[in-house]
């Protein structure tokens, strides 16, 4: 099968106080196109750094990162990346923040943005299209950032803890929304989360990273069918996966 992301022996260090800080060590990750892959691992192990590298924001690393068949050193990949911080532009209101990717690619005029209104209200932001980021709650900011990411170009989505600030209900709704659109468009999704159940529920594959320096220590396939139903969480398979992953994380 075609690989959307192919990472081979990725090593990455930072310099911290003039000392080398190894963050990623021989990371290998093969993501088939159209798969939903979660990455879990302890805080500070290098998950965000991995995403930053895939997105082309970290230039100095060893090993190779191939996205859609092209080495990212050669050409900046088309990737829809939601960073861990929401990074809304404080001088733009919600709508203008959301449409930023369209504006940049020059498609704002040609794209029918009618569907946006629907998504905005699905996300519970209908009263806030004119509001500025500092007038939003933490969870609302995150939802705005997710919508914006959805409008970015690219067949690959990198989502770095996209639901961290959401309550259980909103989170469920947005998980379902995400699965729905993912099944419709079949983008490749790489998904960082701290919620093991969320990882299992959403993914085809879960990668587990070790504490810093981050290595891939586990990689399991989740064998539930699609579309998924909520009640799989009560199956023993689900619970087995969860136990397995928790033990891999030493929880």
């Amino acid at each position: 099968m075609e690989l959307a992301v192919d990472i081979v022996n990725l090593c990455k260090s930072f310099t911290l106080n003039n000392k080398e800080l190894k963050v990623l060590e021989n990371v290998n990750l093969q993501a088939e196109a159209g798969k939903f892959i979660s990455i879990i691992g302890p805080s500070g192990c290098g998950k965000s750094t991995l995403f930053r590298t895939i997105a082309g924001l970290e230039k100095e690393y060893t090993g190779s990162v191939i996205v859609n068949g092209n080495d990212i050193r050669q050409s900046r990949p088309y990737i829809a990346y939601m960073l861990q911080k929401d990074l809304l532009l404080p001088w733009r209101n919600v709508r203008k923040n959301i449409v930023l990717p369209l504006e940049l690619s020059g498609k704002l005029k040609n794209t029918d943005t009618g569907f946006l209104e629907k998504m905005i209200s699905e996300f519970g932001l209908e009263d806030f299209v004119e509001a500025y980021p500092d007038e939003l709650s933490g969870g609302m900011r995150q939802r705005v950032a997710l919508l914006r990411t959805w409008l970015m170009e690219g067949s690959i989505m990198l989502l770095d803890e996209p639901f961290g600030a959401l309550d259980a209900l909103t989170r469920k709704n947005i998980q379902d929304w995400l699965l729905e659109i993912w099944e419709k468009h079949r983008k490749t999704v790489l998904f960082i989360t701290h919620d093991i159940e969320e990882a299992i529920y959403l993914s085809d594959e879960v990668y587990v990273m070790s504490p810093r320096p981050g290595k891939i220590i586990e990689n399991i396939n989740i064998n539930f069918g699609r579309p998924r139903r909520r009640d799989i969480v009560y199956t023993s398979l689900f619970i087995d996966y969860k136990r397995w992953l928790m033990s891999a994380l030493q929880v």
Partner: protein
């Protein structure tokens, strides 16, 4: 709260009135001769007497200021953007921009006259010279001292460097841009007055030297008064614009 704001707004007129009254009384009490420091009343009288003449001169100077300020604004913005985009340009041009500020104007005055004649051009150029530097320093500093996070976000969105500039850096540079503009605003009128050195027939600067050389101190002060009023006006227009442009709770 309301009350506080009111006394705040009043504090300036009050302090100003106190100053004027103190000045007037001091001149009376000390019998300071007019040619040293004229009383405010004498200045007012001179202002009224010379009003038509002064207005003619004001029109000339104001034109120089407006043309010069706008040219400087455009020039600064273009240059700043270019320098931030093209590093080599910055490295080459920056020192010359500083140099342009360090050459005393009274050395440049005759050269400007020789190069650009006696029309309005050399005067406008001097206003440009005075104004473009603070604007450029402020803007360049603003454009280059932003956090890299938003830059990165736009890189991820495959924004071109100039999109990054326009969509992220420029909005973030606004406070510093405006502080440069304000400094320039404060200097522009004086710049125009000075510029009239390069050979003029009319203008507040001409009125100024003439009053000075004929020992008409009150008229001289009247002229300075107009310079001050024009400068303050420009400054407050800029401050007002700033408040419109920057959506942010003011801390003052």
């Amino acid at each position: 709260m309301k009350k506080f704001i009111n006394t705040g707004k009043l504090s300036l007129p009050i302090s100003f009135a106190v100053l004027i009254i103190a000045w007037e009384s001091l001149v009376y009490v000390l019998k300071t001769p007019d040619y040293l420091i004229p009383a405010p009343s004498a200045v007012l009288q001179a202002l009224i007497e010379s009003f038509p003449v002064l207005m003619r001169h004001t029109a000339v100077t104001l034109l120089e200021v407006i043309l010069g300020f706008i040219t400087a604004l455009i020039l600064s913005v273009v240059m700043s953007l270019l320098m931030v985009r093209i590093k080599v340009l910055y490295q080459i041009l920056w020192p010359y921009m500083i140099i342009s500020q360090t050459v005393p104007l009274y050395i440049l005055a005759p050269l400007f006259m020789i190069w650009f004649g006696f029309g309005i051009l050399p005067k406008v150029l001097i206003v440009v010279l005075v104004c473009f530097f603070p604007i450029t320093v402020g803007f360049v500093q603003g454009l280059t001292s932003t956090e890299p996070e938003l830059d990165e976000l736009l890189q991820v969105m495959r924004a071109t460097p100039s999109q990054i500039l326009w969509k992220v850096r420029v909005p973030q540079a606004m406070p510093q841009f405006f502080s440069g503009l304000k400094i320039a605003a404060a200097y522009s009128v004086t710049g125009a007055v000075l510029s009239e050195w390069v050979g003029a027939q009319e203008g507040l600067g001409i009125f100024l030297t003439r009053s000075m050389k004929t020992f008409k101190t009150a008229a001289l002060f009247a002229d300075v008064l107009i310079i001050i009023v024009l400068s303050l006006l420009l400054f407050y227009i800029i401050s007002h614009l700033e408040k419109k442009v920057i959506r942010r709770r003011s801390l003052l």
